[in-house]
Subunit: 345 residues, 2 copies
Amino acid sequence: VTATFDDEIREQPAVLSRLLAEGRARVDEAAGHIRTRAPAFVVLAARGSSDNAARYAQYLFGVRNGLMVALAAPSIVTRYGATPRLGAALVIGISQSGQSPDVVAVLEEARRQGASTLALTNDDASPLAQAAEFTLPLLAGQEHAVAATKTYSAQLMALAMLSAALDGSPAAWEELQATPGQVAAAISLNEAVSPAVRFWRAEQMVVLGRGYNLSTAFEIALKLKETCGLLAEPYSSADFLHGPVALLDQDLPVMVIAPSTASFEDLEAVIERARKQGAPLLAVSDAAALLAGAETPLRLPPGVPEWLSPIVAVVPGQVFAGALAAARGMSPDAPPGLTKVTRTR
Amino acid sequence: VTATFDDEIREQPAVLSRLLAEGRARVDEAAGHIRTRAPAFVVLAARGSSDNAARYAQYLFGVRNGLMVALAAPSIVTRYGATPRLGAALVIGISQSGQSPDVVAVLEEARRQGASTLALTNDDASPLAQAAEFTLPLLAGQEHAVAATKTYSAQLMALAMLSAALDGSPAAWEELQATPGQVAAAISLNEAVSPAVRFWRAEQMVVLGRGYNLSTAFEIALKLKETCGLLAEPYSSADFLHGPVALLDQDLPVMVIAPSTASFEDLEAVIERARKQGAPLLAVSDAAALLAGAETPLRLPPGVPEWLSPIVAVVPGQVFAGALAAARGMSPDAPPGLTKVTRTR
């Protein structure tokens, strides 16, 4: 029996193609309004997987659109009753269900202050969609597994489409069109992935990324936590190198998110240290040499532009999480202690 | 022989008193200029312990000064060569040594764009101090231990002084005056702390906080990593409750940062779950009932206002990290694989 989690991973190419085809008009409309208002900065309100999409947006809007991104701490509004000045900002709420009351509260306050407000949600009729001036529906179909996959990649895609629409570059849209096919390739390249025996009983893992793919490290670590009960911890390779790298040993496997378009000295330095200290290496990459030296190679198709690579690079991590959950005798669809909609205030 | 790490913990009341007395004129001068320019938002550039000070600032400026705070990803400037628009911002660089090239690069770019720029550093002649228009020297004296203590609390204090100067509230300055004494109390209340035997060989721990004290959870987890080689991971209690809480068991101790002024339902819910699942509880608190139920009580003095509580609440964590390092036969002054100044680009 295939788990729903696995099915939803495989739906991603179709979901992303649909979003590109059917979502563009609303993205262009929102981008037109946003450009007119020329926001001074961007604020993102999100939780869980959506918070990892927000991490992606930090690099996306910073590098491609020259916009600083603040990740809102929703409790500033909901717990402390404060009203930070948001009028000069573009405020984006990201929530699969659109139900998260604290994310909704940030959007309501932002709209009251006259900010541009935008909802990214899979439910066009949700409270979040109603709170925002503009909504980009993810069009991902209902997501049944507790651990998000297709709604996460759709969130990244919607953010990338918004970035392309804001900078008006035709080349960016051409690159976007290739993404669903690259996601399909990432799925088929990893069909045969099988977790090494030593991971079946692993208790912890570190997952390292940098730049655009820091988001990928956070999201894969979250999937491993959610579906396998693994204490998987994400780090920037820079922070890891200047600290916990000393903890690496044969009992602490390390996964690196290392597409060849995104080379970072400190990522390479960590890989070197992992080898020296005998830590098992899992590599998400399209670089043959790195994959050959990894205990578990997780393959990416070549030629994905760095700004879109998080949409593709998360996929082998999702596939691996599903395979590892199965090897550990766990159901990735209904992990203990998790619910689909969180209502944190 | 007392470790330098322990000595520097004990220097904190004197360091904070000196900063309050000798640093105020420069804080007032900077705040006067900043108010004139009315920044639309705040950008913080920092790494390591300083990044945890930035987390504190996110709540501090958000709640007390109505300013949204973006934590800069320095690699957007240094690795991707992008120039996000910073002209409308107050840009604060935080670095003990003032040497971090990527933090310096963000400040240089911000100043070029006409932003208000401010350096928080322990070295008034450092590249960071030279890059910024205003500098708040921490006046903490040289810090010898690799794991920062007195420069961290001095960074928090300097940020709190800036927040008070920006809002011009005399009551805030009165509350600040009480802080060095409360830090002294937090040291003496925990003189006798002795890590339970089960922690001597612990491999991991989770450290939970919320709101203002999310920064404290991150900083104590970092101290435990740096000085004890423990895989200590910080979480927002909200995020932890809606996910990894299922991992808690007798082999995964949990430390909660829970001053009684900062009650959060999800923090209480996690404590309840920890008890049910048999996870050893370490509590940093002034609440007698919580301390009585904790396997390791880490005591705080009562009556610390929530906005200043991170300056005091980090102290029992520092003391515990030193005691645990000693119990594990490690030197907190020279942890393996760490250097005092990081030069990440």
